[in-house]
């Protein structure tokens, strides 16, 4: 077997010299074996195949090396949740329509004399009922409140990765849905310098109240005061509010240069970011004094 034929056979059927011969066809398997024999005895072929192998490895590595966008998984979950919600709503509406149709058919049968209760009349009543239901369902679709859309993870990412300049932001006392903005009760802010009013900020498409603060350095410590911020979001606007009910009951995540933890308290969901680690967050853990 000559070099060209051997390499063609191996390139066709046995990439990277894995010797995967096509199917179970006898001649092809025999050809593969002969080609492999030739290559083992031919330096030029070995060099050419090694070169192709290196190329494949490099191209393959580059092909696989694609950065996946930040937050893509959460966006996919959100899209699927929305699709699931729509599917469930339609199914419920259809189930309801079927039930009413059956009921109206029965009622029609009871109120009309047996001789007059023709199939045609029943069909008309059923069609009218179906039309009414469809109209009602359409109106409800238009007017019904939409399910929560804000993804907490996306808000956290946006807040941690894009610096918020509170000096440029307006104060916020009440959210668009009427919920009052307030600080959480389960955070000890006595060691912090914190702005009196929350600032209004739009993150990941949602209205968020931001309290920026500085955690004072420990007594005798040479470290700098640590910047942090507390985000407040109306609980009803968050797709999956945290289960934790108080500060640091949930897990601590590290986003950007911040350690962050989220929890639900009253009508609000809070996220506390602090530059540094979990140990520093612990300094905020004691319940705030009544003062």
């Amino acid at each position: 077997m000559d070099c060209l034929t051997a390499r063609q056979i191996l390139q066709l059927a046995c990439p990277a010299l894995e010797l995967e011969c096509p199917a179970a066809s006898e001649p092809a398997a025999a050809d593969c074996a002969r080609a492999a024999e030739h290559v083992q005895a031919c330096g030029a072929c070995q060099s050419a195949i090694a070169q192709q192998d290196r190329f494949d490895r490099r191209a393959g590595q580059m092909c696989r090396d694609v950065a996946v966008p930040l937050g893509l998984k959460h966006r996919l979950y959100a899209a699927l949740e929305s699709a699931e919600w729509q599917a469930t709503t339609v199914q419920r509406a259809l189930t309801g329509a079927t039930g009413v149709l059956v009921a109206s058919g029965n009622r029609a049968a009871q109120t009309t004399a047996p001789s007059a209760a023709s199939g045609k009349t029943r069909r008309r009543i059923a069609m009218a009922a179906a039309a009414c239901l469809l109209l009602a369902w359409g109106t409800w679709q238009l007017l019904a409140p939409r399910p929560p859309r804000l993804e907490l993870a996306a808000i956290e990412q946006a807040a941690a990765l894009e610096p918020i300049d509170s000096a440029l932001l307006p104060n916020l006392a009440r959210f668009a849905n009427g919920t009052a903005v307030c600080l959480p009760n389960s955070v000890n802010l006595s060691r912090c310098t914190i702005a009196a009013a929350a600032k209004e900020c739009w993150l990941a498409g949602g209205q968020v109240a931001v309290y920026q603060f500085t955690l004072k350095k420990r007594a005798g410590s040479r470290s700098k005061p640590l910047p942090g911020q507390i985000l407040a979001i109306p609980r009803v606007a968050v797709a999956s509010p945290p289960v934790a009910q108080v500060f640091l009951q949930g897990r601590v995540e590290y986003i950007g240069h911040f350690a962050a933890t989220a929890w639900s308290e009253g009508e609000l969901v809070f996220v506390c970011f602090l530059s540094g680690g979990e140990d520093e967050l612990q300094r905020l853990a004691v319940r705030r004094d009544a003062s």
Partner: protein, 192 residues
Amino acid sequence: MQPSDTVRLLEDLVERHYALLYRYAYRLSGSTADAEDLTQHAFLTAHAKIAQLRDPSSAKSWLCAIVRNAYLKDRRGPGRVVAALLDNLAAPLESPTDPDFDENQLQAALNELPEEFRSPLILFYFEEFSYKEIAEQMNVPLGTIMSRLSRARALLRRKLTTNQGPRELPVVEPAPACPPSSDPIARPQWIA
């Protein structure tokens, strides 16, 4: 299947395969925005047709096929499609040195490959699929996949070796429509 089972299965599919699908979509389309759209489309299609997934172990191939079909659907129309002259490409390339190329040159070279060569090549380079799985996914015989892969590797290497950049290829108009998959599992409903 109960709705809660569906949700759980879909969440599992997202967790396991979203990165692979995004990478595949990116290499197919060459655009991050298109890749994200294709990935989302794939999971929404999977949500709508989850009942067609009889064997969850084949979900990866199924999702990749959805991405590819969606990509082909997007590309259809009066666009220009580059068709390579693939004659004589089976001959192994004689080159004294290894080609030097970067990620952009690789993507540009991939973009210029005809789709029926690009898809199997990307899947082959991902090292996640066997020849048989690629053949099933593209709904073509195993031998055809082997032949296409061989030619695609040779063409890609030639492009990256000879010019150190994308080579102009003859353009054929109008675009030849790629045949949709006839596999009912892998074929989204919107493909006529």
